[in-house]
Symmetry: C2
Subunit: 194 residues, 2 copies
Amino acid sequence: MGHSQADKAETHERIVEVAARRFREVGLDGISVADIMKEAGLTVGAFYKHFASRDDLVVEAMAAACDDMAHSALTAQPNLKKSIQTYLSEKHRDDIDGGCPIAALVNDTARSSDNTRAVYAQRFEESLALLEGQMPEGTTGNLRAKAMLIYSAYIGALGLSRAVPDSKLSRQILNNVSAELIALFPTTKSEKSA
Amino acid sequence: MGHSQADKAETHERIVEVAARRFREVGLDGISVADIMKEAGLTVGAFYKHFASRDDLVVEAMAAACDDMAHSALTAQPNLKKSIQTYLSEKHRDDIDGGCPIAALVNDTARSSDNTRAVYAQRFEESLALLEGQMPEGTTGNLRAKAMLIYSAYIGALGLSRAVPDSKLSRQILNNVSAELIALFPTTKSEKSA
DNA sequence: ATTATCTATAGATCTATAGATAATGC
DNA sequence: ATTATCTATAGATCTATAGATAATGC
């Protein structure tokens, strides 16, 4: 039983990380506090020294999940084409618990607390700005609106690809939406090597 | 206590209709059998004369919800522009329990039973075909792929508009994605009057 | 002395079933 | 006789709290 203050901070973070993964996989209501604690190597009694309520964990886990994601599919790609191909890949589809929470939890968030929805919206707008920054040079019109279209297509296509049980249809959704988006927003030559 | 066989059929349908609404609103796991029965004017004991398990109700309710929807936003519109405007409207956003279950339950479905997912996928493909049939004359390329892009954008934008707590941002998502889709797939003159 | 953790449990739920009741339908 | 409904409840959960234990930190 180690319980220094340093241990507590580590423990807190470990609980949040477990929750950030599990919530994406099974939904914000799909796992109990006791099971989260067990997966973090603890028992349920310690939970309320770290969080005032289960919902406080949901809020923190939502933020953590969004921060996870911010450094992969949307941020770390050199151009829009790569972003589209990465986001709408079978790898991302099969990595629910490590993938984009904006997609995995969009329905859950609509039914959740104001605090959770506020975190979700804030992180969504940050990701949207990143996507807007990836729009090809020379794209005309409302760039933020176009980024919203792309992000909406991301969320819908990824969600559908996970919902349908037929793997052929699932792949078709990812590939078709990916191809259509790439055709609509062609990356310029200078950006390809960027 | 009326319980003729005709009554039973009506009762069965009433339970399914209540579930089809509530599931869209609170998720497939968000309401108990007892509360569904209460809302249908019954008590929990009668439930298992109508369904072998809770999951059987989920399957039937999913089908019923999709049938509801099939005759409104996607089917009953004369052209694609009207379909886009209707689907991505504040009215649809605020009518979760009567709106499109393909959007409202996409995350829930990914976590649900094979039977539920099969019904979802079947109805999705039917709606997709309707949308494909609404593509403007002279649209070139892979029509099914383009319909998948539109439907994905529908699901993502509607989901986002319900998840974010800021009503201004919510409206912006609907209006921007709607405008971008209409610009991408302009309806021809002959179709406008169709 | 304080506190991070543990075990144990109160009180509220949830699915599913058992058994009683009252209506249908042969 | 059958059965659609009811009330009641078994058994399994879930959130949150109480009280004991063992380590930290003044």
